[in-house]
Amino acid sequence: MIPIEAVLVLGLLLFAIGLVGVLVRKNLVVMLMSLELLLNGANVILVGLGRRLASPRGAIFALFVIIMAVSEAAVGFALVLAYFRQKKSSDVDALDDLKG
């Protein structure tokens, strides 16, 4: 039997690492990758709690999170490609000309 605290701490640490990646890295592609880490951490917590409560809802929510992550990755990549075509760069600092 896996203690629920271990699952929650694992999800939390994955989330924290992903958050650090989103905040610190300046490369758009690596930021999107860190976002995937963050969503994976949330999924681990959802699945662990679903198992703890003997409810299928945790896994179902995690499934919806995966669907959302796929959508986010696809649109994010389209934006990165469109942006790269304009600027020849994927550094977020070059994005500040979007400011109104």
Binding site: M1, I2, I4, E5, A6, L8, V9, L12, L13, L14, F15, A16, I17, V20, G21, L23, V24, R25, K26, N27, V29, V30, L32, M33, E36, L37, N40, N43, V44, V47, R51, R52, L53, A54, S55, P56, R57, G58, A59, I60, L63, F64, I66, I67, A69, V70, S71, A73, A74, V75, F77, A78, L79, V80, L81, A82, F84, R85, S89, D91
Partner: protein
């Protein structure tokens, strides 16, 4: 006991690979470590008896998203880009704050313990999950399909090379 050992193995693997994703300078190496993390998280799902989700994780993340990342990195060709720079102090703050929040919640969890839940059953099984998904969550499921269709159309339009000249 053996389940706990397997869980600990995959958990340590996932965390180590996750740190390497963020730390790596080369984006292509980051992607490979991301694949590592995703597969380790799938192992965690298997030890938590969420077999369906583990399979979906391997198929969708390992097979779909990671390959998409690799293609984008090849197209964008990140190697030619200048290395990213950030002053030390903001960097330190941005690292310390999420880590401190994570450590605090983890400490509270371990020190206080998680409140005891009601019935804890064995495995969840496909049947109960499928019944709930297509019973109570049918509408969100259909909404998800609409979302995927919108993403399909939107991604093509955004990433298309030339704009179509509209007669209007």
């Amino acid at each position: 006991m053996i389940t706990l050992a397997v869980f600990a193995f995959f958990a340590v693997l996932a965390l180590a690979a996750a740190v390497l994703v963020v730390v790596q300078k080369n984006a292509m190496r980051s992607v490979l470590y991301l694949a590592f993390t995703v597969l380790a998280v799938a192992g965690v799902f298997f030890t938590l008896q969420a077999e369906y989700l583990g399979a979906i994780q391997i198929l969708v993340y390992g097979g779909g998203i990671v390959v998409l990342y690799i293609f984008v990195i090849i197209i964008v060709n990140l190697k030619e880009l200048v290395p990213e720079r950030r002053p030390l102090l903001p960097k330190l703050v941005l690292i310390v704050v999420p880590v401190a929040v994570g450590v605090e919640v983890a400490y509270l969890l371990i020190a206080r313990g998680f409140p005891a839940a009601g019935a804890r059953g064995g495995g969840l099984g496909f049947e109960r999950m499928a019944e709930t998904l297509f019973g109570s969550y049918l509408f969100p499921f259909e909404l998800a399909s609409v979302l995927l269709l919108a993403v399909l159309v939107g991604a093509i339009i955004i990433a298309r090379r030339k704009l179509v000249h509209d007669p209007d």
